[in-house]
């Protein structure tokens, strides 16, 4: 499905700010894989996502999605088949456009991408209503309101809907619930599980919650210093506990895990 083959990326090469964000990273995701990603501060989790989504072109190595080499494909072409959610709920929607217009844009681009003058029909609007009511946030009755009036949680749920209404080949979730209050975060997470399970979407999710990293999805990746230091799935994963995970990290990375947010979350 998704294959990262020895990708590398160094930012600001040759300057004092030189930073090797990804050093020799390889990853193979099977169709339907739902992998959680966990790692220390600056481990390269978001950089890996940016590389997959095409925010920059990698220095070396190749990226293959669904059998197609996308190493040099521009970002806007990749995003036709890759859905992406950020930590910041404001990043995924256009605030001055209505809920309906935001959904229309996402829907038209994904379903009828080649026709520039396509418009949404009455039937499409009914479909949007149906989809919005699934979120259970009362948004189906506010379709004519600008998205800027919604709360962060509502905007993130809407973004999730926009990214998955037409199922993408790959869904990238970069701590998409971290900026939400706990109750809303829980709700958005439940929605994520439901939608991913329904479409069997291949999915990568960064989280800072160790428990979540083990219970969500079918695979866990740990990253440190621009590499994947630990990759577990199947039965071995189902038997693992949070202390096991910390121990594995110490062995893989040769040091203790130092993500302040993870450690704070672990104290809960």
């Amino acid at each position: 499905m998704l294959k990262l083959d020895h990708i590398k990326k160094t930012f600001n090469p040759g300057t004092v700010n030189e930073k090797a964000a990804i050093r020799d990273l390889s990853l193979h995701l099977e169709p339907g894989d739902f992998a959680t990603v966990i790692g220390s501060n600056g481990a390269g989790k978001s950089t890996m996502f940016a590389a997959i989504a095409g925010s920059f072109i990698t220095d070396s190595g190749s990226i293959t999605l669904n059998g197609k080499d996308i190493t040099f494909a521009p970002e806007y072409q990749r995003s036709r088949v890759i859905g992406r959610l950020f930590q910041d709920p404001l990043k995924g929607t256009a605030p001055h456009m209505t809920i309906e217009e935001n959904l229309s844009l996402a829907y038209l681009r994904a379903s009828r991408g080649s026709i520039p003058f396509s418009r949404i029909s009455k039937k499409d609007k009914e479909f949007f209503r149906e989809q919005l009511s699934m979120l259970d946030m009362g948004l189906e009755d506010r379709m004519k309101q600008p998205v800027g009036l919604l709360s962060g949680g509502q905007r993130q749920a809407l973004t999730l809907l926009m990214a998955t209404m037409v199922p993408p080949l790959l869904l990238l979730l970069d701590e998409h619930t971290a900026a939400l209050d706990p109750a809303t975060a829980e709700k958005v997470l439940e929605l994520t599980k439901k939608i991913v399970a329904k479409n069997h979407t291949t999915c990568l999710m960064v989280t800072h919650n160790m428990q979540q990293a083990l219970t969500m999805g079918n695979r866990t990746l740990m990253m440190d210093d621009g590499r994947i230091v630990f990759d577990v799935k199947g039965e071995e994963r189902s038997r693992m506990t949070v202390p096991d995970l910390l121990e594995k990290f110490r062995i893989g990375a040769g040091k203790e895990l130092d993500n302040d947010r993870i450690l704070l979350a672990a104290e809960d």
Binding site: A53, D88, A94, P95, M97
Partner: protein, 304 residues
């Protein structure tokens, strides 16, 4: 008096196309497009020159195509060459001055004498009697406005709106901002040129200086219209551009008639109005802060 009202309506409709173009570039794409001044003259020059050659209808389409090309140059400079957007417009604007002279046969103005214009052709159809100019100008503007509203609801139109609204979102959602900005600027400059084309044939002449300050006047029209009608839906916004433009021309006619403000000062007054209107959010914020400060000072004074 009727004559004044009629002229104000005619001019209002024709210049409303510039306000619409600025609505697209300034409000939707969030780009202050300085190509507008020369783009307007380009439209007039192409239109009058073509009409002089005996093709008054073709002239309008040629003018729009020329405007779109000017928009493309500005867009190319800012999206592909990394020229800051304001500077890109100014560069194109400067270059167009020469192009405009060239279009008019290296002369600073061209006039139509006995040749047909689209207005005389329309008059000969016998529709509207004495109001034929207003009907034609209004018809063109209404049609362009309706087409613009329709377009903004299509996939491409929505993509253009999202580009101006949230760049982060656009980057993650398969919209190519280079393409949408280019299309947006081509359309907005085609509208500006259309305005120049209609005005040129209406006045039966094109002048190299007729576009000076048109961008500020267009913004003034847009702001007046938005103040009157509000900025809720796309249809309302486009209607605001037309309404604002007509109101501006009424004010202009009134000032001309009554000389409350000397007519030479009109550009300065327009500039001040536009500056104040665009600065109003900052001014309001500053006033709010001063008020808060004064209140805090007063409270502290009492507690001592």
């Amino acid at each position: 008096m009727l004559y004044v009202v009629q002229t104000a309506l005619e001019l209002g409709f024709m210049y409303a196309l510039v306000a619409m173009a600025l609505f697209l570039s300034y409000r939707i794409l969030d780009i202050a497009d300085m190509t507008t001044d020369s783009g307007f003259v380009l439209g007039a020059a192409v239109s009058v020159t073509c009409a002089a050659a005996g093709h008054p209808v073709l002239a309008v389409f040629a003018a729009m195509a020329a405007g779109a090309c000017a928009g493309y140059v500005t867009a190319f400079l800012q999206t592909r060459m990394g020229v800051p957007s304001i500077l890109a417009g100014i560069i194109t604007n400067t270059g167009l001055y020469t192009v405009n002279l060239m279009v008019m046969g290296w002369s600073s103005n061209v006039s139509l004498l006995k040749q047909d214009t689209m207005f005389t052709l329309f008059r000969d159809l016998g529709i509207g009697g004495g109001f034929y100019k207003m009907i034609l100008a209004g018809g063109i503007t209404m049609f362009a406005g309706a087409a613009l509203v329709w377009f903004l609801g299509t996939r491409l139109g929505l993509s253009i709106r999202a580009t101006g609204d949230n760049r982060d979102m656009v980057r993650a959602s398969s919209v190519n901002p280079v393409f949408t900005i280019t299309v947006g600027l081509c359309i907005s400059n085609a509208l500006t040129a259309l305005s120049g084309a209609v005005v040129g044939q209406y006045q039966k002449s094109a002048d190299i200086n007729s576009g000076a300050g048109i961008v500020v006047i267009g913004l003034a029209c847009l702001i007046i219209g938005e103040t009157v009608l509000g900025r809720r839906s796309m249809g309302r916004n486009v209607a605001a551009a037309v309404t604002g433009s007509i109101l501006y021309r009424f004010l202009y006619a009134m000032i001309l008639k009554t000389s409350i403000v000397p007519i030479e000062c009109l550009k300065l007054v327009t500039a001040v109005v536009v500056a104040l209107a665009i600065a109003s959010p900052s001014l309001r914020e500053w006033a709010g802060l001063q008020k808060k400060k004064a209140e805090a000072k007063k409270r502290r004074g009492q507690s001592c």
